[in-house]
Symmetry: C2
Subunit: 245 residues, 2 copies
Amino acid sequence: MRESPYDRESFFAAYSQMLRSQKGLDGAGEWHVLRRMLPDFAGRRVLDLGCGFGWHCGYAARQGAARVVGVELSEKMLARAREQNGAAVITYVHMPMEEYAFAAEAFDVVLSSLALHYVEDFEGMCRRIFSTLAPGGTFVFSVEHPVFTAEGTQDWVYGPDGEILHWPVDRYFSEGARQTMFLGERVKKFHRTLTTYLGALLAAGFAIEDVQEPQPPAEMLELPGMRDELRRPMMLLVRAGKAGE
Amino acid sequence: MRESPYDRESFFAAYSQMLRSQKGLDGAGEWHVLRRMLPDFAGRRVLDLGCGFGWHCGYAARQGAARVVGVELSEKMLARAREQNGAAVITYVHMPMEEYAFAAEAFDVVLSSLALHYVEDFEGMCRRIFSTLAPGGTFVFSVEHPVFTAEGTQDWVYGPDGEILHWPVDRYFSEGARQTMFLGERVKKFHRTLTTYLGALLAAGFAIEDVQEPQPPAEMLELPGMRDELRRPMMLLVRAGKAGE
């Protein structure tokens, strides 16, 4: 099976120290926006692609989901998910999301939080997600924003005194792999344009219901560096719907 | 009436020299993408907001539109439109688009090419455009891309030898007026996020049918500077639909 960068010891240790890993959903700057975009989970069948520590699976279970499947490539993350976010309705599956067997109309909600930019074939994923959703189903996902992934270094441009000057955009229309540094490790992500993200959803048959570029919540703005998050978009959040019968 | 920058002599003279002014639609790098997004014009009532020299009005008329209304703030541009793109079915109206009387369900197609970034209240325009469209109607527009408008100078960052380093993004979430230089004149435009553009359409009731960030056509790529257009998105093109009855 393909290796997950999250299974490297040093990377896993560093990731585990992040606020979003320690505090879960409330430690994630985009959660206040993503939460508003989620459908009602009560009685629904939920699939979480790239579920990581299982925070969203646990949330769906607490909101009354009938069944939750979390798919994750990293064994280390899954072990933590089972420990911290286990529930009777949740099944964790150790597998690359690209290899998951998407049964037709098996789910009412598909989620994916900050995982799809690791996937090369987004169009193919959209088609499989559309087919595995029942009519009336919802697909909600977050990815790193095309503005954030385009140039590739994923860092600001700094002035002579180390001050932030601006965010660089380059190679925007050169879609494909980017080798980037994240938590001190080399990680491979895929850059796609906004045109490709939204076009793949529309081509698969989805209606685009909501598109959000989250800003930090007001109460986090005084944290160090947080005001700089207003200078460029870092994430793209989308809700897409499959028409009911 | 509000002054149009296009009515300043020097600016008008400079704008008239641009390839898109001389050659019309075929001189516009985005036309090959925009054309594909346009609905069938045969027998349709068409409204063009910020019609400029009337190239799109003329195109709609040649495609068989039953009636075309072009609204434009600049008298100089309208004079040229009447001269170069006049047709029996076209009515040119000298007026800021914000003050146009949008009669309910009076049009089948609303177009706007590179004009809505001069308008402060995009949400209000979306509501009026939605109401003036008949059921089944289509709104197609182009604007400068949020990546292009965010920082404000609308220029690349250059290295010591004058070479392009990258495109700067800054102030992305600070929506509002930008004073920018265009053709040697100070021009006021409005920066909006992608979230705001798409959110305003959805809030007005539109379905988002197509979103495109055009790249130059292959045959223009050898023109000076054209390959740099692959380094950052300059325009955002959207087709939105009003559901039929």
